[in-house]
Amino acid sequence: MTDITSLSLFELIKNIKEKKISSNEASKSFIDRSQKSKKLNAYVTENFENCLKLSKEFDNKPNYDLKLPGIPIAVKDLFCTNEVRTTAGSNILNNFFPSYESTVTQNIWNEGGILLGKLNCDEFAMGSSNETSFFGNVQNPIAKDLVPGGSSGGSSSALAANLTPVTIGTDTGGSIRQPASFTGTVGLKPTYGSCSRYGIVAFASSLDQAGPMSKDVKDSSILLEVISSFDKKDSTSIDFKRNNYSSELTRNIKGIKIGIPNEYRVEGMPDEIENLWKKGIEYAKDCGAEIIDISLPHTSYALPTYYIVAPAEASSNLARYDGVKYGLRSSGESLIDMYEKTRSEGFGEEVKRRIMIGTYVLSSGYYDAYYLKAQKVRQLIKKDFDEAYNKVDAILTPSTPSSAFKIGEKSNDPVSMYLNDIFTVPVNLAGLPGISIPAGRDKNNYPLGLQIIGKPFDEQTVLNIAYSMEEKINYKNNITDWWME
């Protein structure tokens, strides 16, 4: 039969339920392939032995009513996993073993999923290329020395290389959708409040959301159904009626209104992105959607707003890393000296940069000029979307302004790195659901993605449009296993 690791999640579940593949066989296949793929540097922590043990236990007492029956899954190392090392890609958490489990991962284990390992990411999810990780660069399976995107770069790499059937990432400004776009995979950021933030190492609390990453749209719908839940342990979790996303998935999107925002035609956008977008519009029409021009006038203010709000919240969230109760401690002559040395040695350059920006914008005398101003502009950005949604059901844009770039190409210029998130950041600021699906290739044959943005809590429409367009686009990744000896 075909290679187990190349199956979609849906096919893998089907095979396990029909007893054609055991959980242990599936686990062995993904572990074997992961062990041959060390060059990608996708894993920070392997959980292989435990995974094999748990898969045997599943096979001895199988429960096929579960949504992820005995499915091995590797997750981004930003999710706290009980007694399994959780680093957030940082030296400061190099030796941290949580005493609790994140709600999102707990939901996966409750439905029969088994932890394969923890995947590399940018340090504290701050980055767009996985280059800020303390544990090193991650290779994009598409081509050598190409970044896999970030911050969920280990996740996108492992997924595209078939080291895990699906994975989960977190998205604060594009950290699921951009790496999905760079690796020819699907990544969904749900509405703020859909998936619990409990047990996710916090970056920017008003923007962070967990979401599924998968090889196709149907798999994302299956995983979203598992991870989306109301959670009392997260004060911003929202109690709304969640769909059975996978069973309600349909390609019938006839008459759905899709908006095309003029402001996303940014200066200097490469022709191939413009052409991809045009092709996307044609695909959407072919699927029966009605295309409507819309305006999101404050789009160009989204990135500057984000680079106030996110560092401000990060500087506050990361104040907890002081070398006292857990994590790295450097020796110092006094308590303050110990704090300062611990944080200087424990954090990488990008994280320090953002803590400094955040501390500055929140410092006495500057709060009104920066943080309050950004919150007001954030309101304007949200209102743009509210008004657009009076006319349309969803919005179609490119996912990123370029395809994946080479390792090292942008790492010395923070602003040019930040521009990567120009199409994804507004979605986080407005708390909306957004998905990136692979839609074509650039001149180097690197994948390019299209983004579909939905109304709050309307993940179903986003998934349905993506599912419908995916069939027309018919994109297939062409992975050559170049990294294997």
């Binding site: 404050h298 500057p304 106030i308 006292v324 200087s344 803590i355």
Partner: protein, 95 residues
């Protein structure tokens, strides 16, 4: 507006991050280029706009003040860089 070395050093004190002189200079350059980019917000008039403080339009929920976790003292202390019996140890704070 430019952020000078003195400001960078002050901010690094507030953020409790020690900085070498050379790193402080590089950080000042980086911060200036980032703030140049952020200044774009000043183009917008926002006097009459309500700040958006939370995207989830919910009021914070109350819960009973009750212990819900098991006794995990050992697990918690296991992560500490330095401990003494049941206590976290820090450098001396009183003379």
């Amino acid at each position: 507006m430019t952020i000078d070395l003195k400001t960078v050093k002050h901010i690094s004190k507030l953020a409790r991050i020690s900085l070498e002189e050379k790193k402080a200079e590089k950080l000042a350059d980086d911060m200036n280029s980032i703030f140049e980019f952020i200044e774009k917000l000043n183009e917008l008039k926002t006097e009459n706009v309500e700040p958006l403080t939370s995207i989830a339009e919910t009021t914070l929920r109350l819960r009973e003040d009750k212990i819900t976790s098991d006794n995990i003292r050992e697990k918690i202390l296991k992560n500490s860089p330095e401990k003494n019996d049941d206590f976290f140890v820090v450098p001396k704070v009183v003379e």
